[in-house]
Amino acid sequence: MKKYVKLYPYYVSRSIKARLAYRFDAFIGIFGFLLENGIIFSTLYLTISSIPALNGWDLNMMGFLYGYYLIPKAIDHIFSDQIWQLGNGGITRGILDKYLIKPLNPLFQLVAEMIQLEGFGELILGIIFLCVFGSKLTINWHFSNTIGLLVSGFFAIWFFFAIKLIFGSLSFWTKRSIEVMTLVYDFSNFAKYPVDIFSKSIQFVLTFILPFSVVIFFPIRAFLFNENMWIVTLYVAISSVAMFLLSYFIWTKGLKKYESAGS
Protein backbone atom coordinates (compact mmCIF):
# COMPACT_ATOMS: atom_id res chain seq x y z
CA MET A 1 0.00 0.00 0.00
CA LYS A 2 2.77 2.38 0.91
CA LYS A 3 4.38 1.67 -2.42
CA TYR A 4 1.31 2.93 -4.26
CA VAL A 5 1.18 6.11 -2.25
CA LYS A 6 4.83 6.69 -3.02
CA LEU A 7 4.54 5.79 -6.70
CA TYR A 8 1.46 7.79 -7.63
CA PRO A 9 3.03 11.26 -7.41
CA TYR A 10 5.78 9.96 -9.71
CA TYR A 11 3.29 8.97 -12.37
CA VAL A 12 1.32 12.18 -11.98
CA SER A 13 4.25 14.55 -12.14
CA ARG A 14 5.75 12.90 -15.16
CA SER A 15 2.47 12.73 -17.01
CA ILE A 16 1.82 16.42 -16.42
CA LYS A 17 5.35 17.26 -17.49
CA ALA A 18 4.91 15.32 -20.72
CA ARG A 19 1.63 17.02 -21.52
CA LEU A 20 2.87 20.50 -20.77
CA ALA A 21 5.65 19.99 -23.28
CA TYR A 22 3.06 20.85 -25.88
CA ARG A 23 1.64 23.99 -24.32
CA PHE A 24 -0.56 25.11 -27.15
CA ASP A 25 -2.16 21.72 -27.57
CA ALA A 26 -2.87 21.48 -23.86
CA PHE A 27 -4.39 24.92 -23.99
CA ILE A 28 -6.69 24.03 -26.86
CA GLY A 29 -7.87 20.95 -25.04
CA ILE A 30 -8.59 22.86 -21.84
CA PHE A 31 -10.22 25.70 -23.73
CA GLY A 32 -12.32 23.24 -25.73
CA PHE A 33 -13.94 21.72 -22.69
CA LEU A 34 -14.36 25.08 -21.02
CA LEU A 35 -16.03 26.52 -24.10
CA GLU A 36 -18.25 23.49 -24.61
CA ASN A 37 -19.65 23.64 -21.13
CA GLY A 38 -19.82 27.41 -21.27
CA ILE A 39 -21.95 27.34 -24.38
CA ILE A 40 -24.17 24.55 -23.15
CA PHE A 41 -24.77 26.51 -20.00
CA SER A 42 -25.44 29.67 -21.99
CA THR A 43 -28.10 27.77 -23.88
CA LEU A 44 -29.62 26.72 -20.60
CA TYR A 45 -29.35 30.25 -19.31
CA LEU A 46 -31.09 31.76 -22.32
CA THR A 47 -33.74 29.09 -22.18
CA ILE A 48 -34.61 29.69 -18.56
CA SER A 49 -34.39 33.46 -18.87
CA SER A 50 -37.75 33.39 -20.54
CA ILE A 51 -39.46 32.22 -17.35
CA PRO A 52 -39.24 33.32 -13.71
CA ALA A 53 -38.23 29.89 -12.36
CA LEU A 54 -38.17 26.22 -13.31
CA ASN A 55 -40.25 24.35 -10.76
CA GLY A 56 -38.94 26.65 -8.08
CA TRP A 57 -35.39 26.79 -9.38
CA ASP A 58 -34.35 30.22 -10.58
CA LEU A 59 -31.39 31.08 -12.82
CA ASN A 60 -28.88 31.45 -10.03
CA MET A 61 -29.81 28.13 -8.49
CA MET A 62 -29.52 26.41 -11.86
CA GLY A 63 -26.13 28.02 -12.33
CA PHE A 64 -25.01 26.87 -8.92
CA LEU A 65 -26.21 23.34 -9.68
CA TYR A 66 -24.37 23.37 -12.99
CA GLY A 67 -21.18 24.49 -11.31
CA TYR A 68 -21.44 21.73 -8.73
CA TYR A 69 -22.12 19.17 -11.47
CA LEU A 70 -18.93 20.12 -13.27
CA ILE A 71 -16.50 19.76 -10.38
CA PRO A 72 -16.56 16.04 -9.48
CA LYS A 73 -16.95 15.22 -13.16
CA ALA A 74 -13.88 17.30 -13.95
CA ILE A 75 -11.75 15.79 -11.21
CA ASP A 76 -12.58 12.28 -12.38
CA HIS A 77 -11.93 13.37 -15.97
CA ILE A 78 -8.46 14.63 -15.02
CA PHE A 79 -7.36 11.52 -13.18
CA SER A 80 -8.94 8.53 -14.87
CA ASP A 81 -9.25 9.45 -18.54
CA GLN A 82 -7.21 6.40 -19.56
CA ILE A 83 -10.18 4.17 -18.71
CA TRP A 84 -11.76 5.17 -22.02
CA GLN A 85 -8.97 3.21 -23.74
CA LEU A 86 -10.47 0.06 -22.25
CA GLY A 87 -13.62 0.52 -24.28
CA ASN A 88 -11.83 1.83 -27.34
CA GLY A 89 -10.47 -1.54 -28.44
CA GLY A 90 -7.75 -1.50 -25.81
CA ILE A 91 -8.43 -5.08 -24.79
CA THR A 92 -7.80 -6.48 -28.25
CA ARG A 93 -4.78 -4.26 -28.67
CA GLY A 94 -3.32 -5.84 -25.58
CA ILE A 95 -2.74 -2.67 -23.58
CA LEU A 96 -3.21 -4.64 -20.38
CA ASP A 97 -0.32 -7.04 -21.02
CA LYS A 98 2.35 -4.57 -20.05
CA TYR A 99 0.57 -4.01 -16.74
CA LEU A 100 0.09 -7.69 -15.99
CA ILE A 101 3.79 -8.53 -16.08
CA LYS A 102 4.68 -5.93 -13.51
CA PRO A 103 4.37 -6.45 -9.75
CA LEU A 104 1.79 -3.68 -9.44
CA ASN A 105 -2.01 -3.63 -9.49
CA PRO A 106 -3.05 -3.37 -13.17
CA LEU A 107 -5.99 -1.05 -12.50
CA PHE A 108 -3.70 1.31 -10.65
CA GLN A 109 -1.31 1.30 -13.60
CA LEU A 110 -4.11 1.92 -16.07
CA VAL A 111 -5.48 4.88 -14.16
CA ALA A 112 -2.11 6.38 -13.19
CA GLU A 113 -0.84 6.28 -16.73
CA MET A 114 -2.32 9.59 -17.76
CA ILE A 115 -3.33 12.90 -16.36
CA GLN A 116 -5.80 14.56 -18.68
CA LEU A 117 -5.31 18.30 -18.43
CA GLU A 118 -8.42 18.97 -20.53
CA GLY A 119 -10.50 18.35 -17.44
CA PHE A 120 -9.20 21.57 -15.98
CA GLY A 121 -11.41 23.41 -18.45
CA GLU A 122 -14.46 21.92 -16.77
CA LEU A 123 -13.00 22.43 -13.32
CA ILE A 124 -12.26 26.10 -13.81
CA LEU A 125 -15.72 26.75 -15.19
CA GLY A 126 -17.33 24.83 -12.35
CA ILE A 127 -15.52 26.85 -9.73
CA ILE A 128 -16.43 30.10 -11.48
CA PHE A 129 -20.08 29.14 -11.57
CA LEU A 130 -20.13 28.18 -7.90
CA CYS A 131 -18.60 31.49 -6.95
CA VAL A 132 -20.63 33.71 -9.26
CA PHE A 133 -23.99 32.11 -8.65
CA GLY A 134 -23.25 31.26 -5.06
CA SER A 135 -22.68 34.88 -4.27
CA LYS A 136 -26.00 35.85 -5.88
CA LEU A 137 -27.91 33.41 -3.73
CA THR A 138 -28.65 33.86 -0.07
CA ILE A 139 -27.12 30.73 1.32
CA ASN A 140 -26.76 29.69 4.91
CA TRP A 141 -23.18 28.60 4.86
CA HIS A 142 -22.87 26.75 8.09
CA PHE A 143 -20.63 23.93 9.11
CA SER A 144 -22.89 20.95 8.62
CA ASN A 145 -24.24 21.69 5.18
CA THR A 146 -20.92 22.84 3.78
CA ILE A 147 -19.16 19.72 5.01
CA GLY A 148 -22.05 17.66 3.68
CA LEU A 149 -21.65 19.20 0.27
CA LEU A 150 -17.91 18.63 0.22
CA VAL A 151 -18.28 15.03 1.30
CA SER A 152 -20.95 14.42 -1.34
CA GLY A 153 -18.73 15.97 -3.96
CA PHE A 154 -15.91 13.68 -2.92
CA PHE A 155 -18.06 10.58 -3.27
CA ALA A 156 -19.44 11.83 -6.57
CA ILE A 157 -15.94 11.66 -8.05
CA TRP A 158 -15.83 7.93 -7.28
CA PHE A 159 -19.29 7.52 -8.75
CA PHE A 160 -18.23 8.93 -12.12
CA PHE A 161 -15.14 6.75 -12.02
CA ALA A 162 -17.20 3.66 -11.25
CA ILE A 163 -19.57 4.28 -14.16
CA LYS A 164 -16.66 4.55 -16.59
CA LEU A 165 -15.05 1.42 -15.20
CA ILE A 166 -18.24 -0.67 -15.34
CA PHE A 167 -18.99 0.12 -18.95
CA GLY A 168 -15.37 0.08 -19.99
CA SER A 169 -14.99 -3.39 -18.47
CA LEU A 170 -17.84 -4.61 -20.65
CA SER A 171 -15.32 -4.73 -23.47
CA PHE A 172 -13.73 -7.74 -21.79
CA TRP A 173 -16.78 -9.49 -23.18
CA THR A 174 -17.81 -7.37 -26.13
CA LYS A 175 -14.38 -6.24 -27.43
CA ARG A 176 -15.55 -2.67 -27.89
CA SER A 177 -17.82 -0.73 -25.62
CA ILE A 178 -17.01 2.93 -26.17
CA GLU A 179 -20.40 3.76 -27.64
CA VAL A 180 -22.16 2.37 -24.60
CA MET A 181 -19.68 4.07 -22.31
CA THR A 182 -20.39 7.43 -23.93
CA LEU A 183 -24.12 6.88 -23.81
CA VAL A 184 -24.16 6.11 -20.11
CA TYR A 185 -21.66 8.80 -19.26
CA ASP A 186 -23.85 11.33 -21.07
CA PHE A 187 -26.74 10.18 -18.92
CA SER A 188 -25.15 12.35 -16.28
CA ASN A 189 -26.53 15.35 -18.19
CA PHE A 190 -29.93 14.64 -16.65
CA ALA A 191 -28.52 15.58 -13.28
CA LYS A 192 -28.11 19.22 -14.29
CA TYR A 193 -31.85 19.70 -14.02
CA PRO A 194 -34.43 19.39 -11.24
CA VAL A 195 -35.31 15.74 -11.31
CA ASP A 196 -39.06 16.40 -11.12
CA ILE A 197 -39.25 17.78 -14.65
CA PHE A 198 -38.77 14.29 -15.99
CA SER A 199 -41.28 11.50 -16.34
CA LYS A 200 -41.70 9.05 -13.48
CA SER A 201 -39.84 6.25 -15.25
CA ILE A 202 -36.85 8.46 -15.95
CA GLN A 203 -36.87 9.67 -12.37
CA PHE A 204 -36.78 6.06 -11.28
CA VAL A 205 -33.75 5.34 -13.42
CA LEU A 206 -32.00 8.47 -12.20
CA THR A 207 -32.64 7.56 -8.58
CA PHE A 208 -32.22 3.81 -8.40
CA ILE A 209 -30.49 2.46 -11.47
CA LEU A 210 -28.04 5.08 -12.67
CA PRO A 211 -28.38 7.35 -9.65
CA PHE A 212 -26.76 10.43 -11.19
CA SER A 213 -29.45 12.64 -9.72
CA VAL A 214 -28.87 11.21 -6.25
CA VAL A 215 -25.20 12.02 -6.47
CA ILE A 216 -25.43 15.49 -8.00
CA PHE A 217 -28.92 16.92 -7.76
CA PHE A 218 -30.02 15.80 -4.30
CA PRO A 219 -27.10 17.38 -2.41
CA ILE A 220 -27.61 20.74 -4.09
CA ARG A 221 -31.32 20.61 -3.49
CA ALA A 222 -30.74 19.85 0.16
CA PHE A 223 -28.14 22.57 0.36
CA LEU A 224 -30.22 25.30 -1.27
CA PHE A 225 -33.56 24.41 0.26
CA ASN A 226 -32.23 23.73 3.74
CA GLU A 227 -33.22 20.10 3.84
CA ASN A 228 -31.51 17.44 5.87
CA MET A 229 -27.98 17.39 4.49
CA TRP A 230 -26.80 14.36 6.41
CA ILE A 231 -29.38 11.97 5.05
CA VAL A 232 -28.63 13.08 1.51
CA THR A 233 -24.90 12.74 2.09
CA LEU A 234 -25.56 9.25 3.33
CA TYR A 235 -27.49 8.41 0.15
CA VAL A 236 -24.69 9.80 -1.95
CA ALA A 237 -22.10 7.80 -0.05
CA ILE A 238 -24.08 4.58 -0.30
CA SER A 239 -24.74 4.94 -4.04
CA SER A 240 -21.15 5.84 -4.80
CA VAL A 241 -19.62 3.11 -2.70
CA ALA A 242 -22.04 0.53 -4.08
CA MET A 243 -21.30 1.60 -7.65
CA PHE A 244 -17.58 1.50 -6.96
CA LEU A 245 -17.69 -1.98 -5.47
CA LEU A 246 -19.74 -3.15 -8.42
CA SER A 247 -17.27 -1.65 -10.84
CA TYR A 248 -14.30 -3.28 -9.15
CA PHE A 249 -16.11 -6.59 -9.13
CA ILE A 250 -16.86 -6.40 -12.86
CA TRP A 251 -13.31 -5.31 -13.61
CA THR A 252 -11.86 -8.21 -11.65
CA LYS A 253 -14.17 -10.69 -13.35
CA GLY A 254 -13.26 -9.29 -16.73
CA LEU A 255 -9.56 -9.44 -15.99
CA LYS A 256 -9.88 -13.09 -14.94
CA LYS A 257 -11.59 -13.86 -18.20
CA TYR A 258 -8.83 -12.07 -20.08
CA GLU A 259 -6.19 -14.11 -18.33
CA SER A 260 -7.85 -17.40 -19.06
CA ALA A 261 -9.02 -16.74 -22.57
CA GLY A 262 -6.83 -14.03 -24.00
CA SER A 263 -8.13 -11.45 -26.43
Binding site: I28, I40, L54, N55, E179, D186
Partner: protein, 274 residues
Protein backbone atom coordinates in the same frame (compact mmCIF):
# COMPACT_ATOMS: atom_id res chain seq x y z
CA UNK B 1 -14.74 22.94 -64.52
CA UNK B 2 -13.96 20.74 -67.48
CA UNK B 3 -16.19 17.75 -68.14
CA UNK B 4 -13.49 15.14 -67.56
CA UNK B 5 -12.64 16.71 -64.25
CA UNK B 6 -16.24 16.39 -63.20
CA UNK B 7 -15.87 12.65 -63.59
CA UNK B 8 -12.87 12.71 -61.29
CA UNK B 9 -14.77 14.61 -58.65
CA UNK B 10 -17.66 12.21 -58.94
CA UNK B 11 -15.29 9.40 -58.09
CA UNK B 12 -14.56 11.13 -54.82
CA UNK B 13 -18.25 11.58 -54.17
CA UNK B 14 -18.77 7.89 -54.68
CA UNK B 15 -16.01 7.20 -52.19
CA UNK B 16 -17.74 9.54 -49.79
CA UNK B 17 -21.01 7.67 -50.14
CA UNK B 18 -19.36 4.31 -49.54
CA UNK B 19 -17.51 5.47 -46.47
CA UNK B 20 -20.73 6.97 -45.15
CA UNK B 21 -22.33 3.56 -45.41
CA UNK B 22 -19.34 1.83 -43.86
CA UNK B 23 -19.48 3.94 -40.75
CA UNK B 24 -23.21 3.55 -40.35
CA UNK B 25 -23.00 1.66 -37.11
CA UNK B 26 -20.79 4.16 -35.43
CA UNK B 27 -23.10 6.90 -36.71
CA UNK B 28 -26.11 5.21 -35.20
CA UNK B 29 -24.27 4.81 -31.93
CA UNK B 30 -23.75 8.53 -31.71
CA UNK B 31 -27.34 9.06 -32.72
CA UNK B 32 -28.50 7.21 -29.64
CA UNK B 33 -26.54 9.70 -27.61
CA UNK B 34 -28.41 12.44 -29.41
CA UNK B 35 -31.62 10.73 -28.43
CA UNK B 36 -30.76 11.25 -24.79
CA UNK B 37 -30.11 14.93 -25.16
CA UNK B 38 -33.33 15.29 -27.14
CA UNK B 39 -35.20 13.56 -24.34
CA UNK B 40 -33.76 15.99 -21.86
CA UNK B 41 -34.72 18.91 -24.09
CA UNK B 42 -38.26 17.61 -24.43
CA UNK B 43 -38.81 17.45 -20.69
CA UNK B 44 -37.02 20.70 -20.10
CA UNK B 45 -39.17 22.58 -22.53
CA UNK B 46 -42.31 20.93 -21.26
CA UNK B 47 -41.47 22.19 -17.80
CA UNK B 48 -40.56 25.60 -19.16
CA UNK B 49 -43.86 26.06 -20.90
CA UNK B 50 -45.61 24.86 -17.76
CA UNK B 51 -43.80 27.47 -15.73
CA UNK B 52 -44.39 30.19 -18.30
CA UNK B 53 -47.12 32.75 -18.16
CA UNK B 54 -48.22 32.26 -21.77
CA UNK B 55 -48.39 29.57 -24.41
CA UNK B 56 -46.02 31.37 -26.71
CA UNK B 57 -42.43 32.14 -25.78
CA UNK B 58 -40.35 34.26 -28.16
CA UNK B 59 -42.70 33.49 -30.99
CA UNK B 60 -42.97 29.72 -30.57
CA UNK B 61 -45.46 27.39 -28.97
CA UNK B 62 -44.42 24.22 -27.16
CA UNK B 63 -45.29 22.03 -30.13
CA UNK B 64 -43.37 24.27 -32.47
CA UNK B 65 -40.40 24.29 -30.12
CA UNK B 66 -40.23 20.53 -29.83
CA UNK B 67 -40.59 19.99 -33.54
CA UNK B 68 -38.01 22.70 -34.22
CA UNK B 69 -35.46 21.08 -31.94
CA UNK B 70 -35.97 17.61 -33.30
CA UNK B 71 -36.06 18.67 -36.95
CA UNK B 72 -32.93 20.71 -36.25
CA UNK B 73 -31.13 17.70 -34.83
CA UNK B 74 -32.14 15.58 -37.81
CA UNK B 75 -31.14 18.44 -40.08
CA UNK B 76 -27.65 18.42 -38.61
CA UNK B 77 -27.11 14.90 -39.92
CA UNK B 78 -27.33 16.44 -43.37
CA UNK B 79 -25.77 19.84 -42.99
CA UNK B 80 -22.87 18.66 -40.85
CA UNK B 81 -22.25 15.47 -42.78
CA UNK B 82 -19.07 17.00 -44.12
CA UNK B 83 -15.80 15.23 -43.38
CA UNK B 84 -13.62 18.06 -44.64
CA UNK B 85 -12.37 19.00 -41.19
CA UNK B 86 -10.97 15.55 -40.51
CA UNK B 87 -9.63 15.01 -44.00
CA UNK B 88 -7.60 18.18 -44.14
CA UNK B 89 -6.76 17.95 -40.45
CA UNK B 90 -5.32 14.47 -40.76
CA UNK B 91 -3.57 15.25 -44.00
CA UNK B 92 -1.77 18.11 -42.31
CA UNK B 93 -1.07 16.10 -39.16
CA UNK B 94 0.38 13.19 -41.07
CA UNK B 95 2.22 15.33 -43.55
CA UNK B 96 0.30 14.10 -46.56
CA UNK B 97 -0.60 17.58 -47.61
CA UNK B 98 2.41 17.92 -49.87
CA UNK B 99 1.40 14.90 -51.92
CA UNK B 100 -2.10 16.22 -52.35
CA UNK B 101 -0.74 19.40 -53.84
CA UNK B 102 0.99 17.53 -56.62
CA UNK B 103 -2.17 15.87 -57.83
CA UNK B 104 -3.85 17.44 -60.86
CA UNK B 105 -7.03 18.06 -58.98
CA UNK B 106 -8.20 20.94 -56.87
CA UNK B 107 -7.81 19.87 -53.27
CA UNK B 108 -10.62 21.99 -51.93
CA UNK B 109 -13.13 20.78 -54.50
CA UNK B 110 -12.00 17.25 -54.04
CA UNK B 111 -12.89 17.51 -50.35
CA UNK B 112 -16.18 19.11 -51.22
CA UNK B 113 -16.96 16.29 -53.62
CA UNK B 114 -16.14 13.68 -50.99
CA UNK B 115 -18.27 15.47 -48.44
CA UNK B 116 -21.10 15.58 -50.92
CA UNK B 117 -20.87 11.81 -51.02
CA UNK B 118 -21.23 11.78 -47.25
CA UNK B 119 -24.19 14.09 -47.64
CA UNK B 120 -25.92 11.65 -49.93
CA UNK B 121 -25.32 8.67 -47.68
CA UNK B 122 -26.53 10.66 -44.67
CA UNK B 123 -29.61 11.58 -46.66
CA UNK B 124 -30.46 7.98 -47.41
CA UNK B 125 -29.41 6.34 -44.15
CA UNK B 126 -30.40 8.93 -41.61
CA UNK B 127 -32.35 11.88 -42.81
CA UNK B 128 -35.10 10.17 -44.75
CA UNK B 129 -35.91 7.47 -42.17
CA UNK B 130 -35.58 9.74 -39.15
CA UNK B 131 -37.50 12.61 -40.68
CA UNK B 132 -40.34 10.38 -41.83
CA UNK B 133 -40.50 8.79 -38.40
CA UNK B 134 -40.58 12.03 -36.48
CA UNK B 135 -43.04 13.74 -38.80
CA UNK B 136 -45.44 10.86 -38.39
CA UNK B 137 -44.85 10.85 -34.65
CA UNK B 138 -45.55 14.55 -34.36
CA UNK B 139 -48.59 14.31 -36.56
CA UNK B 140 -50.22 11.67 -34.39
CA UNK B 141 -49.12 12.72 -30.93
CA UNK B 142 -48.66 16.45 -30.94
CA UNK B 143 -50.88 17.15 -33.92
CA UNK B 144 -48.30 19.11 -35.78
CA UNK B 145 -49.07 19.45 -39.49
CA UNK B 146 -46.72 17.72 -41.91
CA UNK B 147 -44.88 20.29 -44.04
CA UNK B 148 -46.06 20.66 -47.61
CA UNK B 149 -44.21 19.78 -50.81
CA UNK B 150 -43.32 23.39 -51.55
CA UNK B 151 -41.81 23.79 -48.10
CA UNK B 152 -39.76 20.65 -48.62
CA UNK B 153 -38.57 21.94 -51.96
CA UNK B 154 -37.32 25.21 -50.55
CA UNK B 155 -35.97 23.32 -47.57
CA UNK B 156 -33.74 21.09 -49.70
CA UNK B 157 -32.52 24.01 -51.74
CA UNK B 158 -31.63 25.79 -48.54
CA UNK B 159 -30.05 22.72 -46.99
CA UNK B 160 -27.69 22.25 -49.89
CA UNK B 161 -26.50 25.83 -49.49
CA UNK B 162 -26.19 25.29 -45.75
CA UNK B 163 -24.16 22.18 -46.38
CA UNK B 164 -21.75 24.08 -48.56
CA UNK B 165 -21.38 26.81 -45.97
CA UNK B 166 -20.74 24.21 -43.30
CA UNK B 167 -18.20 22.48 -45.50
CA UNK B 168 -16.30 25.72 -46.09
CA UNK B 169 -16.23 26.49 -42.38
CA UNK B 170 -15.04 22.97 -41.58
CA UNK B 171 -12.31 23.34 -44.17
CA UNK B 172 -11.17 26.67 -42.76
CA UNK B 173 -11.04 25.39 -39.20
CA UNK B 174 -9.33 22.23 -40.40
CA UNK B 175 -6.53 24.41 -41.74
CA UNK B 176 -5.79 25.27 -38.13
CA UNK B 177 -4.15 21.87 -37.89
CA UNK B 178 -1.09 23.69 -39.19
CA UNK B 179 -0.69 25.27 -35.79
CA UNK B 180 -1.62 22.53 -33.38
CA UNK B 181 -1.75 18.76 -32.93
CA UNK B 182 -4.84 18.83 -30.76
CA UNK B 183 -7.33 17.89 -33.48
CA UNK B 184 -9.79 16.50 -30.97
CA UNK B 185 -9.79 19.71 -28.96
CA UNK B 186 -10.26 21.75 -32.14
CA UNK B 187 -13.15 19.55 -33.09
CA UNK B 188 -14.87 20.14 -29.77
CA UNK B 189 -14.49 23.88 -30.13
CA UNK B 190 -15.72 23.77 -33.72
CA UNK B 191 -18.69 21.54 -33.00
CA UNK B 192 -20.02 23.39 -30.03
CA UNK B 193 -19.59 26.81 -31.62
CA UNK B 194 -21.27 25.75 -34.83
CA UNK B 195 -24.03 23.92 -32.97
CA UNK B 196 -24.86 26.92 -30.89
CA UNK B 197 -24.67 29.67 -33.49
CA UNK B 198 -26.38 27.68 -36.20
CA UNK B 199 -29.44 27.57 -34.04
CA UNK B 200 -29.53 23.83 -33.57
CA UNK B 201 -29.54 24.12 -29.77
CA UNK B 202 -31.85 27.08 -29.51
CA UNK B 203 -33.59 29.35 -32.04
CA UNK B 204 -31.98 32.75 -32.33
CA UNK B 205 -35.14 34.47 -31.10
CA UNK B 206 -33.91 33.46 -27.65
CA UNK B 207 -30.56 35.13 -28.06
CA UNK B 208 -29.98 38.46 -26.37
CA UNK B 209 -30.68 41.39 -28.65
CA UNK B 210 -27.11 42.33 -29.38
CA UNK B 211 -26.29 38.77 -30.36
CA UNK B 212 -29.36 38.39 -32.52
CA UNK B 213 -28.40 41.46 -34.50
CA UNK B 214 -24.78 40.35 -34.88
CA UNK B 215 -25.92 36.95 -36.13
CA UNK B 216 -27.60 38.58 -39.09
CA UNK B 217 -24.20 39.48 -40.43
CA UNK B 218 -22.66 36.07 -39.87
CA UNK B 219 -23.11 32.88 -41.84
CA UNK B 220 -23.95 30.63 -38.91
CA UNK B 221 -27.63 31.20 -38.60
CA UNK B 222 -28.24 30.13 -42.11
CA UNK B 223 -26.86 26.69 -41.47
CA UNK B 224 -29.62 25.14 -39.42
CA UNK B 225 -32.12 27.72 -38.34
CA UNK B 226 -32.87 28.98 -41.82
CA UNK B 227 -33.67 25.66 -43.47
CA UNK B 228 -35.65 24.41 -40.50
CA UNK B 229 -37.69 27.58 -40.27
CA UNK B 230 -38.37 27.25 -43.99
CA UNK B 231 -39.51 23.70 -43.46
CA UNK B 232 -41.83 24.74 -40.68
CA UNK B 233 -43.28 27.41 -42.88
CA UNK B 234 -42.14 30.26 -40.69
CA UNK B 235 -40.31 32.02 -43.45
CA UNK B 236 -42.29 33.14 -46.43
CA UNK B 237 -42.35 35.53 -49.31
CA UNK B 238 -39.90 38.37 -49.00
CA UNK B 239 -38.17 36.93 -45.94
CA UNK B 240 -37.67 33.61 -47.67
CA UNK B 241 -36.05 35.19 -50.69
CA UNK B 242 -33.81 37.50 -48.71
CA UNK B 243 -32.48 34.68 -46.53
CA UNK B 244 -31.80 32.66 -49.66
CA UNK B 245 -29.85 35.53 -51.07
CA UNK B 246 -27.87 35.74 -47.84
CA UNK B 247 -27.03 32.04 -48.08
CA UNK B 248 -25.87 32.40 -51.66
CA UNK B 249 -23.69 35.33 -50.73
CA UNK B 250 -22.13 33.38 -47.89
CA UNK B 251 -21.49 30.35 -50.06
CA UNK B 252 -19.50 32.50 -52.46
CA UNK B 253 -17.71 34.53 -49.83
CA UNK B 254 -16.65 31.51 -47.79
CA UNK B 255 -15.59 29.59 -50.84
CA UNK B 256 -13.39 32.49 -51.85
CA UNK B 257 -11.89 32.66 -48.36
CA UNK B 258 -11.18 28.94 -48.49
CA UNK B 259 -9.41 29.20 -51.81
CA UNK B 260 -7.41 32.25 -50.72
CA UNK B 261 -6.29 30.70 -47.46
CA UNK B 262 -5.49 27.39 -49.09
CA UNK B 263 -3.33 29.10 -51.69
CA UNK B 264 -1.50 30.91 -48.93
CA UNK B 265 -1.04 27.58 -47.16
CA UNK B 266 0.23 26.00 -50.38
CA UNK B 267 2.89 28.67 -50.69
CA UNK B 268 3.95 28.10 -47.13
CA UNK B 269 4.04 24.32 -47.42
CA UNK B 270 5.98 24.44 -50.64
CA UNK B 271 8.60 26.74 -49.18
CA UNK B 272 8.85 25.33 -45.67
CA UNK B 273 8.09 21.70 -46.44
CA UNK B 274 5.20 19.37 -45.54
Amino acid sequence: MKPKNIKKYMAFSKAGILSGFAYKFSAFGWLLGDAISLMILYFLWKAIYQNASSDVINGMTFEEMVSYLIYARIGTTLVFSTASFWIIGEDIYEGNIAISLIRPINYRYRLLATSFGNFLSALILMFVPLMSLSMLLFHFTLEIPIPGILNFGWFFASVILSFMIADSLNFLIGEMALFTNALFGLMIIKNITLSFFSGSLLPSSFFPNWLEITMKFLPFQSMIETPIMILMGKLEGYQLLSTFLMQFVWVFVLNAVCNLSFNAMKKRVVSVGG
